[in-house]
Symmetry: C2
Subunit: 188 residues, 2 copies
């Protein structure tokens, strides 16, 4: 667990994270990862026994990043509606990546849910993270009873925007739909 080893490990995870997002999990090979990480072929097995283990490490890192983001939103405002707006605004803020590669959470889960339900279990945690947080915000807004239902509705809307604007590579469509989502939030 020297400094050098930790750095190599971090580079593998960083490369895999990007590649899984840009090419998909099945579309990314060990060769792709070691090439991107700038390490030697067999070396990757010193850190990860299987491709699944790499995925787990990538998911864990994304979980950490998103937890930090949620903490930042909570620090930014104590108003639940304001916080929900930060979630909606994030979609527009990330429009370039969303339009090019889709939602990193949605596309990963969509791929893994097809025929690898065991593998998908870990990536589903990314959905749960946002779902739980959104549920808390809707509850704080006074919709305790239907908080989870509203959170899932918002996730559906966000995912739908990501899918269609990704398919059509259409940032204008994304912004228009995010606007409608903001209106829905206002009128709640």
């Amino acid at each position: 667990m020297s400094t050098k080893g930790e750095k190599t490990r971090a580079e593998i995870i960083a490369s895999a994270k990007t590649l899984f997002y840009e090419r998909g999990y099945a579309g990314t090979s060990f060769s792709d990862i070691v090439d991107a990480a700038g390490i030697y072929r067999g070396n990757i097995y010193h850190y990860f026994k299987t491709k699944d283990e790499i995925l787990q490490a990538v998911v864990d890192q994304r979980l950490d990043e998103f937890r930090a983001l949620l903490a930042q939103w909570e620090a930014q405002s104590s108003q639940p509606k304001e916080r929900l707006r930060l979630f909606v605004n994030m979609i527009a803020g990330r429009k370039n990546d969303l339009v090019r590669y889709g939602c990193p959470i949605g596309t990963l889960n969509t791929e893994l849910a097809k025929e690898q339900r065991e593998l998908q279990q870990s990536s589903k945690a990314l959905f749960d993270l946002f779902c739980d947080w959104l549920t808390s915000q809707f509850a704080a807004l006074g919709h305790a009873k239907e908080a989870r239902s509203l959170a899932l509705h918002l996730l559906c809307r966000a995912q739908g925007i990501s899918v269609v604007s990704h398919v059509y590579e259409d940032a204008k469509l994304l912004k228009r739909e995010v606007g409608k989502l903001g209106t829905w939030l206002d009128e709640l």
Copy 2:
């Protein structure tokens, strides 16, 4: 182009269609297809030179099926709002497959849009088919100016429902969200 050859070809397409849907395009190999079709390994190349050609044939067949479905809806009602309701009802009607494998159009496009934009061009036609038809219905409903925007909004909503209920394998969520979509249509 004998009867037997046509039958073999049809079996390849049918097997590939199911496998691409259930396992994804990258997740399906030639071996999988020939095994499912019950033909011999090399034989598939008599009908299709590449995997891409098989995908094209699968997409063409889906296009034919969906065109027939749209024609059926048009025959079923002359009221645009009734027709739009048939679209929304289709989601609930196909909930078992949607919850297990996602939307056959959305998941295919999501996968191919990642790093194979050329390949995705053909599968995008499936989206266009529905988008154009929905646009016509919204126009006939008196929303000529924003017909396309409404059609894309409906597609976003439908895709979002498919993604999230697929990820959570949750048919109840799907039905609840389809209900909300029906309300949106009513209040239009």
